[in-house]
């Protein structure tokens, strides 16, 4: 199967049908959740502090749902209206924006405590969009420059992506560096064909570390990354005592949401369902 980013522009590839198919695929859900937990681990946020995060290329909210579960407040942006539509239906809690990250961000300096991006960056290297655009290097430059300024100092951005060559990795890291980022590339399970994952771990102002974290070795174990992330947090918490972060969502909340998704997955939800019967107030 050829790579999605070679097939069509993202907002066309992720049309109504693909957006639903992608989101309802349990295998996809598992993989995206896993990589989101790994990204959170690499983000290395203080375990007790509340944080305001940016989810770059949030899609239908598979990564954002993990941020909800972990008690973070977040903003998501994506270029595909059908994916955002599904995110609305799933009632994720982040603010959603229709945005082409290759055109850059307008967020004021220091807006976010961190950023994640799961399975998105390869799109900036390949297919054009159906909107006005410019060359990939120019788009990458615009993206990294405006992202750098939108992040607090110090902080980190962790971006998992699927490069096809070392040249692509090189172009991405050098553009990020020129934009002011430190950090580098981390490869998890480098020797496994299936589990191999590439993360770009970027630091603003040192990112609170001197060195780029190590990649994971050996064989991947499913559910590992969530367990690891939560174990680490518990450990750090035990040191710091009183949790000041928003409550981690309890099991009931998650089960309720999962049930909701299942129902939603079965019946196709009409486009305007979320808005029917709601009270509105108009202000001028």
């Amino acid at each position: 199967m050829s790579r999605p980013e070679l097939v069509a522009p993202p907002e066309i590839y992720y049309g109504d049908i693909e957006a639903k198919k992608y989101t309802n695929n349990t295998r996809v859900q598992q993989i995206q959740a896993d990589m989101t937990y790994r990204a959170l681990e690499l983000l290395n946020l203080p375990p007790d502090d509340p944080a305001f995060l940016l989810d770059i290329g949030c899609g239908s909210g598979l990564s954002g749902e993990i941020l909800d579960q972990e008690g973070y407040t977040w903003v998501g942006c994506d270029i595909a209206p059908s994916m955002l539509e599904v995110a609305l239906e799933r009632e994720v809690e982040g603010d959603l924006f229709l945005q082409d990250i290759g055109q850059g961000f307008g967020f004021r300096p220091g807006s976010f405590d961190g950023a994640i991006s799961i399975s998105v960056l390869q799109w900036l290297l390949n297919a054009e969009t159906s909107h006005p655009t410019s060359s990939p290097p120019h788009r990458l430059n615009r993206f990294f420059t405006t992202l750098h300024s939108a992040l607090r100092n110090p902080s980190r951005a962790v971006l998992q992506f699927y490069p096809t060559s070392d040249d692509q990795i090189q172009l991405i890291t050098s553009t990020a560096q020129k934009a002011g980022f430190g950090g580098g590339v981390i490869v998890d399970y480098p020797n496994s064909k299936k589990a191999r994952k590439v993360f770009l771990c970027l630091f603003v102002g040192g990112g609170g570390a001197q060195q780029v974290p190590q990649g994971l070795e050996g064989d991947e174990v499913e559910d590992d990354s969530q367990a690891r992330f939560e174990k680490r947090r518990e450990k750090l918490k035990a040191r710091g005592k009183n949790g000041r972060r928003k409550n981690i969502k309890d099991k009931d909340w998650i089960l309720k949401k999962k049930e909701l998704y299942r129902q939603r997955g079965k019946e196709s939800v009409p486009r305007d369902s979320k808005y029917t019967g709601r009270k509105r107030k108009t202000v001028f």
Binding site: P50, C77, P81, L88, F97, Q103, G106, T146, K246, K281
Partner: protein, 123 residues
């Protein structure tokens, strides 16, 4: 959904639009209030990041007058609750955000602002 927490961080990103491009002016907006979990530490921690005058004005335009003109020096629970409401519970569903400098209109529909630029606006 755009909430005022995000609106307060958003400037115009059109090409060459680098001054007087904040705050984006709200126009013809429909809002909806949805309860959110109150986390005093999050709200308190966010204070230094806010452009206070812009926030107060946006809140007033949306009919919320609970915030004082100046950011208070002493922060109590009542104030934080009001701020929590303004930042996280008022959702803008429909309308537009307009750049005070270049006039670019960012339409909001179904709670999602369209931030896409035209060809000549790409920086």
């Amino acid at each position: 959904m755009v909430r005022l927490i995000t609106h307060n961080l958003l400037a115009c990103h059109a090409k060459g639009c680098t001054s007087n491009n904040f705050p984006l002016k709200l126009q013809d907006v429909a809002i909806e209030v949805r309860e959110a979990e109150f986390n005093p530490d999050f709200v308190r921690g966010f204070l230094p990041r806010l452009e206070w005058k812009a926030l107060v004005q946006a809140a007033r335009e949306l009919g919320d007058t609970s915030l004082p003109e100046e950011m208070p020096e002493m922060v109590d629970d009542g104030f934080l609750k009001n701020l929590h409401h303004v930042l996280l519970e008022i959702h803008i569903d429909e309308g537009a955000m307009i750049c005070p400098n270049c006039g670019h209109t960012y339409p909001i529909s179904n709670g999602i602002p369209n931030m896409l630029l035209a060809e000549h606006e790409i920086g």
